[in-house]
């Protein structure tokens, strides 16, 4: 099938409507991508924290090795511990030195003697943290029990707020975009009313008449998606150095894991951008298609 008046010509003849439609789709998809990255990024940080030793027991100096081993055995037999590791005074010093290697003053002041030995305990699930801390609280020779529950809780509520706000925001934008697309295509249909009537009279099928308008909506969707993708790509490259310092100490964050294939959110994997492009394209196509499809069925009733 050839058409003497191309889709490109149709779009070019109404540049401002086209810009409005593409720009709205771009904004919607860009915001969607930003929220998607924040939501997945924060859950990745969350699951990273959840997998880390969440309970640390610091011992007083008088606590001897045998009783620490007894305590370790007791905790392991509870069935609520995923892993447990002993950090001696010397190991603690090594960690301390590593963390502060750029600050000679801090290094000088500290010896292995003043650092406590500790047990780092990772629970099977965060819900066991309190039970585990209750278990060891009354043992003799324990200086302090620290657990990261507070940090994790804050992060959980923060993540869920981001998700809710993001969902509502994207929904509003999507509705606005739908109506802009609906009106744009509707106006074009009204503009081509005479042509449509003529096409019907010479025997064009309904699909033949509708097709260019639906394609137009699809082109808007794809154009908006590509724009959003390019923008998010630039933004991520730009913030990459800040991310490096912000996520210091976290080796990697997983964005997506399908059947053993892991796509890293951090550090940015090339495949992350491919997946993002696919998601944005799909969303753009859905918006473009629904907008134009509804416009066509609304304005082209015979």
């Amino acid at each position: 099938m050839t058409s003497s008046v191309s889709l490109w010509q149709r779009i070019r003849r109404t540049p401002y409507q086209t810009i409005a439609a593409v720009f709205m789709i771009f904004i919607t998809l860009f915001v969607m991508a930003v929220f998607l990255l924040i939501a997945t990024g924060s859950s990745a940080i969350l699951s990273y924290l959840e997998s880390k030793p969440q309970l640390t027991i610091f011992f007083k100096d008088e606590k001897n090795k045998t009783s620490i081993e007894q305590l370790t055995g007791k905790l392991q037999s509870s069935g609520k511990v995923a892993s447990i590791s002993y950090v001696s005074k010397d190991q603690a010093l090594a960690i301390y030195r590593e963390q502060n290697k750029n600050d000679p003053l801090l290094l000088e002041m500290v010896t292995a003697d003043i650092l406590p030995s500790s047990l780092e305990i990772s629970a099977i699930s965060p819900k066991y943290l309190i039970e585990l801390s209750e278990m060891v609280k009354d043992e003799p020779g324990i200086d302090e029990v620290v657990f990261q529950k507070d940090v994790v809780d804050t992060l959980i509520s923060w993540t869920s707020t981001v998700r809710k706000v993001g969902a509502v925001f994207i929904l509003f934008l999507a509705v606005a975009t739908f109506f802009i697309l609906f009106t744009t295509i509707g106006m074009k249909i009204a503009f081509h009313k005479e042509e449509i009537e003529i096409l019907k009279l010479v025997g064009a099928t309904s699909w033949y008449i509708k097709k260019p308008f639906i394609y137009e909506g699809l082109v808007y969707g794809i154009a908006g998606a590509i724009l959003a993708w390019v923008t998010i790509f630039c933004v991520l490259l730009y913030i990459s150095p800040f991310m490096t310092s912000f996520l210091k100490g976290i080796p990697s964050l997983t964005f997506l894991q399908i059947e053993g294939i892991i796509i890293n959110f951090w550090p940015f994997a090339p495949f992350l951008f491919v997946v993002l492009l696919m998601i944005l394209m799909l969303a753009g196509l859905i918006i473009g298609l629904t907008g134009s499809f509804f416009a066509v069925s609304r304005y082209m009733k015979s």
Partner: protein, 225 residues
């Protein structure tokens, strides 16, 4: 063949535009529909292409029962019929060649087939050197020839013309009639609604005369009366 059996069409305004009409038109015939304004000429043409449906009776075009045709099948009826309007109905932002191409594109013809056919059609309507003009750059007579070209470009075996010379001066009118007559000679059925007495009288074809929606005269090789 076009067959009307006891066809009545009443418009919502209450006017009976076509009243119990029986009409049979054979393949390859040339028929003038004549009568004063409001006699029902245009209504008959609109009934044939299924643009409106009758309140009573049946209309058949070849093997298609027009009054029972589903909307989705309507395009296939319209591909059998070329329609020429008094106001041409050309697409103003497309060239002459593109206007004719429309009738071929809807049939899914290839680019080369379309180009070949456009050249043939432009020759038939004597507009070979106007292919890349826009409709507003042509005279009314030329625009009407484009409309005729579009009507016969596709697969149509029937040409309906509603007052094709209504907007034209006598010279242009004769040119149009000459082209329509030539088209009829290739075997295409032609039905022309007109009240141009001179043209009807000079061609000596079948004349169907309508008055108040009824056929009051139907004779082969006739004059306007």
């Amino acid at each position: 063949m076009i067959l009307f059996k006891d066809v009545t069409k009443k418009y919502p305004s209450g006017i009976t535009a076509v009243d119990s009409v029986d009409l049979e038109i054979q393949d390859g015939e040339f028929v003038f529909l004549v009568g004063p304004s409001g006699a029902g000429k245009t209504t008959i043409l609109r009934l044939i292409i299924g643009e409106i449906s009758p309140n009573q009776g049946s209309i058949t075009v070849d093997d298609l029962k027009v009054n029972k045709l589903k909307a989705a099948k309507l395009p296939f009826l319209r591909r059998k019929i070329g329609f020429v309007f008094q106001d041409f109905k050309l697409i103003t932002d497309r060239t002459i060649a593109e206007n004719i191409a429309v009738a071929l594109e809807i049939l899914g013809k290839s680019g080369r087939e379309i180009q070949t056919r456009i050249n043939e059609v432009l020759a038939t309507v004597h507009l070979e050197n106007r292919a890349n003009y826009f409709p507003r750059q042509l005279s009314f007579g030329e625009q009407q020839r484009v409309a005729i070209g579009r009507a016969i470009a596709g697969e149509s075996k029937i040409l309906l013309a509603d007052e094709p010379t209504g907007n034209l001066d006598p010279k242009a009118s004769w040119e149009i009639l000459k082209i329509i007559t030539n088209i009829n000679k290739t075997g295409i059925t032609v039905i022309t609604a007109t009240h141009n007495v001179d043209i009807v009288n000079s061609l000596n074809k079948r004349v169907v005369k309508l008055f108040n929606g009824k056929i009051i005269h139907d004779e082969k090789k006739s004059k306007y009366l």
